[in-house]
Point group: C2
Chain length 397, copies 2
């Protein structure tokens, strides 16, 4: 199933052509390809884009397909964390089943790569991680899933968590996570020393949630920069949210961006409408790799997010006031190739020799296709059809 | 067609019941209504909400159903205004046809009331207004349309515009519009004196676009307050956008809100994600009437907006960080009853004796229905079915 001929598609809005996939790679892009005996799809003139990359989500949190979660929590970060830790059991939130539902919904919506944070805490132990690892394995070949072992409830403030994180890495988590070293964990030195040491021990990268605004966040960023340099981890660290880079002080942000670029630290944004967020164009101009994510979808935190990276492109674009056709391509790049570079995927393009990960979407021009935001007509992962008409091909539990 | 029985609906998420409409008004809400010979709809357990109110849009601007508009304009307000003024002719943008398409798309999505600004300028004269007036008349009984005569290109900076505005009011525009007295029109006293005098002359209300941020906007607000009081126009003035009320200085905003409440000045928001915007909860707590709108949809300004007030509820909620179930009801109120109060409609509720303007939407609870955001199953205006499955009943040109 890794050979496939797609007829009548328009790569990035170009004139209609055919695209032949052999052994999971793009082999030929040309009109009127002759490839007898190969499975064939007719794109009907749809626009082809690289597969969508969900670079910041939480597959373990969704209540998709369950009862409506009645949210009466308030919006303080610590309150939402505490509420969720208990709610997992009360709701009977099965991490294997729920992460499968969430991941497959993303696949139906054109996604070929996912980076998911997964909660590791002293109340739920490693059970949540085990469930998402099952989903990662079950979906191999359908969607690539990177797992970040994530101390959602704090590390230094909850003794025992560091040992669990260590075991999470041994079990197969791909990256070490972190969370607001000042704002949540109340011990920035302790928190960052711990997670950098763990990443060093396993030879893995880091992806840190940094909601801290303004100077508090900038301080944490500086501590992250120091450790990245000291441990020679250039190019292996990502900061999620990085709200502090949205602060109004232009010069302060400029200085931080220069240092981040020097350590090749990547930025992941959700374009959170209610917060100050890093500017996509500014971060990209500074030479940083940048991706985007929908964050948690339909969970105890938030009812608004959808498992749909074209919907997220719209949210990020609106937050960044990106409107012109050229800017719509900027935001499309963010949710495809941009996210891929953060995940270490360097051939995420519609070009001969590249892995055949792509999505077909409706639209007369590329910009219109981005603005329409789907529905995704076909998702293709390594030459295999994984989604059709907005739905995953695989059965949803 | 103004008698209708709707079976098996859940008003605001309450247990299933029937609702009988006689003469366009809600006559009975009770289970098992016996009304032989009356047209009947089965809601299938859908949730009923008051009709959606689009309280800030531009029916004259959309390119819906036309070629994709390739936007290469940049985001400066004055550049977008100038670009559009010329583009109207180049694109062959027929205001009657386009406003009909836009209004009917809103109707399909559950809308029963629209307030639309309509451009009046020295280049296009009153032709744009004439087109939208045609649509208003053609859709009487389908959707209520209020028209604001809007000096989009400026008033004092484009001599001749005031005379056109005067003629627009004589032709049947419902309200006098205004626009950034400092930021665009460069003469706050001149601009505001002119539009208040015009409103006074015709005994009509005012709705002013105020994008001006921070202290510039606050200054314009103060000038508006002074004129509202001096002319006894309490309760007849609305401010659209009012970005200055989103400025960080809590005390400054508090003072303005107290004065706005004293003059019963209404606020209309789009929840613009890239700007500082007035807080919904704060404005409502201050006792002001408040509604919301999608702004222009698919036009030369912006590719992202949709003719869909449930989509707008999501945007406003995300911008305001409203997540809890109770807060979802706040935002639902904003896009229904809140907008209606701004348009002077005081019986916009699902209650006996009220005009039967309502929408049926899917969801297990009211909060879930708001979060899902449709598709709207049925739109009913004065007892008449005007939309079905997200589409208008009337033919779209």
């Amino acid at each position: 199933m890794t050979d496939l001929l797609i007829r009548n598609l328009r790569p990035m809005g170009a004139p209609a052509t055919d695209l032949l996939i052999r052994g999971g790679k793009v082999a030929v892009i040309a009109p009127g390809i002759d490839a007898p005996g190969i499975a064939t799809e007719d794109a009907g003139g749809a626009i082809a884009i690289p597969g969508l990359v969900e670079a910041h989500t939480h597959l373990d949190k969704t209540v998709m397909g369950m009862d409506w979660y009645e949210n009466a929590v308030g919006t303080a970060l610590s309150a939402m964390i505490k509420n969720e830790r208990g709610a997992r059991r009360e709701l009977g939130l099965d991490p294997a089943r729920q992460s499968m539902r969430h991941a497959l919904a993303l696949v139906g919506n054109g996604t070929t790569h996912i980076r998911s944070h997964v909660d590791v805490d002293t109340e739920n132990g490693l059970a949540v991680l085990e469930g998402v690892l099952q989903t990662r394995d079950a979906l191999r070949g359908t969607v690539e899933i990177e797992i970040v072992a994530f101390p959602q409830s704090g590390l230094m403030i909850r003794p025992g968590t560091l040992d669990l994180l260590d075991r999470a890495m041994a079990m197969g988590a791909d990256l070490v996570g972190g969370l607001d070293p000042c704002g949540i964990d109340r011990d920035p030195k302790g928190h960052l020393d711990a997670i950098f040491a763990l990443a060093d021990k396993y030879g893995r990268g880091i992806d840190i949630h940094l909601h801290e605004p303004g100077e508090m966040g900038a301080f944490s960023l500086e501590l992250i920069l120091e450790r990245t340099a000291a441990l020679g981890m250039k190019g292996r660290v990502a900061i999620s949210h990085a709200f502090c880079l949205g602060m109004p002080d232009w010069n302060r942000v400029e200085g931080l961006l220069v240092e981040l670029a020097a350590q090749d630290i990547a930025i992941l944004t959700t374009g959170a409408p209610s917060r100050e967020v890093p500017s996509v164009k500014r971060v990209q101009s500074a030479g940083l790799r940048m991706g985007a994510g929908c964050d948690g979808v339909l969970d105890t935190w938030n009812p608004w997010n959808r498992p749909d990276m074209l919907d997220r492109a719209r949210i990020v674009a609106q937050k960044n006031n990106l409107r012109a056709d050229a800017d719509l391509e900027v935001v499309l790049d963010l949710v495809t190739t941009g996210g891929a570079t953060v995940m270490g995927v360097t051939d995420h393009r519609l070009a001969v020799g590249c892995t055949a990960d792509l999505a077909l979407i409706p639209g007369r021009t590329l910009a219109e296709a981005v603005a329409l935001g789907g529905p995704v007509q076909l998702t293709v992962k390594g030459g295999r059809v994984t989604g059709r008409e907005g739905k995953p091909v695989a059965e949803v539990p």
